[in-house]
Amino acid sequence: MKNRGKTDGKIFLLMITIALFVTMYIAGIIIFNSKGFAKPQVFLNLFISNAGLIVIAAGMTMVMITGGIDISVGSVVALACMMLAWMMEVKGIGAVPALLTVLVMGIFFGLAQGFFIAYLKIQPFIVTLAGMFFARGMTAIISQEMISVKNELFLKWAKSKINLTFLGGTVNKKGVVNYPFLYPSVIIALVVLVLVFVALKYTKFGRTIYAVGGNEQSALMMGLNVKRTKLLVYVINGFLCALGGFLFCLNTCAGFVEQAKGFEMEAIASAVIGGTLLSGGVGNVFGSLFGVLIKGTIETFITFQGTLSSWWTKITIAALLAFFILLQSLFAKAKEK
């Protein structure tokens, strides 16, 4: 019976998130209808501009389920973008080897952080805070100037539209039919999301992650390898950060030091808004997807509104994060009673 109540609480948090997203979107359609908020493309743009964040939020969700956290993600994204741009433009390396190098970098970054967290038992925050400054500083060491990507293959990846003809097209003034479209980055992001979902839900490794986050001591007593699980989670997260950085770079096609600042906040906020508990043990990547979409909707609002500064996105996200944290905390208190 007690267990039942816990499950209901989890679903309730997720329901609030989905309801919030739907309400916000409908409100947007009503307020900005004249500016075309209701077009399918506006909805698809939520995915296009946040493909990288979806992948990173999935990794963040995994880390948070173990009871850890990673605030280095924004800097790792910047480092990944800078490495891609620098390798392709300055060193003339092909797009494929450059991408592979970046992914390997992500794995090693995760490995280093995971080692300190899992085996030396240093607080995840301290380790990833150092990681955050390290990655940002490395970005500056590679280049302090902005590097734009002009590699043909890379731009082809970035700009090949996938038309969704079944959604129906609109004819513009020149008589060309425009279909709602997606970029390949969105497909990659969604595939990753599904993979992480399946891994968490249906594999032994996934169940171990929940067990470790739920109660590390009991997981250890059950004979689960807590340290290795944690290490693996950070390694996967490092890989996903690098991949997310690549998807982010497909959007911006550039690398510069200040890139993706505050990304860690957006990823954590997405996971928390999606119902992942900060205390670990509870979480769902699809919830995080809705978290990302809510953030995207806020951004779209601000773009459609036109006069508000982009700082409002950060402030609203922070406020939402605070709100959902309070909500979680209240739930936890209610459960104690």
Binding site: K121, I122, Q123, I126, L129, A130, F133, R136, M265, I325
Partner: protein
């Protein structure tokens, strides 16, 4: 000879040995490249030289690290919003003194009003953090992450996305120097904050309470100490320190630059606390250690600048230092080393 070994062991065993050793090491390493490092001259009635620069520039960090020490000791977590809170305080002060204008040549409102408002803004931010951590029981870093990201946005909103300049001589005094006194003002501010805090901790039971709560908040609550109130107060105090530090930083550049005031200082403050020999897990702390740590960090920064490292790149080196210090503090590493040692000895015996 034996006495010497005992003496050396006693010396290296004291808490402040490591921070002091690091400080001396960093300072001396400068002598190799700049032999004039310790030279102090008087320029325009103010002391001038590398070493003075280190002491002067470290003031912001010293003030921050005092607040950070309290937070770390009481809650076992760190406040990563301090840099952003500094920019908020600077923005609030400049906004009030400039009366909403962008550049002013004289105060639009009394100076003291701006100062009080800035400190108040810092404390308000501290209250917010403290409420989330102490009352809502949220991990300190997640709670402070909110202001870490949103703080600069709020400062931008206050200054309307522009840099507010206060071109008044008396405003610059806090960050530069008061005519007739050769020592830069920030040094006095830092000294004042440190002494006041020290007296407060030593003359009242507050210092003891903070350590008790940090070691075991449950047990101290059962003993009758209001743990959550102590933690809350430590965050408010940290906010206050960030506010004062923000004032000094804003006075240095006589403007409110929301993007750059206190940039990356949160890492420096945490580093200062760790370098001072304080465990980041909370509990026992040494205020003096953190202060020495702060001067060491600034000396390190100045050294790196002198070596031609750009401000963007410096975090790399500091991040490495942080990880090394924290790894050395880790009990797991000691266990590993011990296991390795006993393993080798066992191997020898078998052989």
């Amino acid at each position: 000879m034996n006495k010497l070994i005992v003496f050396v062991k006693k010396l290296t065993g004291t808490r402040l040995f490591l921070p002091l050793f690091c400080l001396v090491l960093v300072l001396l390493s400068n002598l190799i490249k700049t032999p004039t490092f310790f030279q102090v001259t008087i320029k325009n009635g103010v002391l001038y030289g590398y070493i003075i620069d280190v002491i002067n520039r470290a003031s912001d960090l010293v003030i921050l690290s005092v607040g950070m020490t309290m937070v770390v000791a009481a809650s076992g977590g760190t406040d990563i919003s301090v840099g952003a809170v500094m920019s908020v305080a600077g923005a609030v002060c400049c906004y009030i003194l400039a009366g909403g204008l962008q550049t002013v040549n004289e105060f639009q409102n009394p100076y003291i009003l701006g100062v009080l408002a800035a400190v108040f803004a810092g404390m308000l931010c501290g209250c917010f953090n403290g409420f989330l951590v102490a009352k809502m029981k949220i991990q300190p870093m997640v709670a402070t992450l909110i202001l870490f990201t949103a703080g600069r946005g709020m400062a931008q909103l206050i200054t309307r996305g522009q840099i507010t300049y206060i071109r008044v001589e008396s405003y610059k005094m806090l960050g530069a120097s008061i005519p007739g006194i050769p020592v830069p003002t920030p040094v006095f501010v830092a000294l004042l904050v440190v002494i006041l805090t020290y007296v407060l901790l030593k003359k009242t039971t507050l210092g003891l309470y903070i350590q008790t709560v940090g070691i075991n908040s449950r047990a101290s609550r059962l003993m009758g100490i209001k743990s959550s109130r102590i933690i809350f107060l430590s965050y408010v105090f940290c906010g206050l320190c960030a506010g004062v530090s923000g004032l000094v930083a804003s006075s240095r550049i006589y403007s409110a630059d929301a993007n750059n005031i206190g940039l990356n200082l949160e890492l420096d403050a945490i580093l200062a606390v760790a370098l001072g020999g304080n465990s980041l897990g909370g509990g026992k702390f040494s205020l003096l250690g953190s202060v020495i740590g702060a001067y060491t960090i600034q000396a390190l920064s100045t050294t790196l600048y002198a070596m031609g490292v750009s401000p963007d790149q410096i975090p790399v080196y500091k991040a490495i230092v942080v990880v090394i210090i924290v790894a050395l503090q880790s009990t797991e590493l000691k266990k590993m080393a011990k296991r390795f040692q006993t393993g080798r000895e066992a191997g020898k015996r078998v052989a």
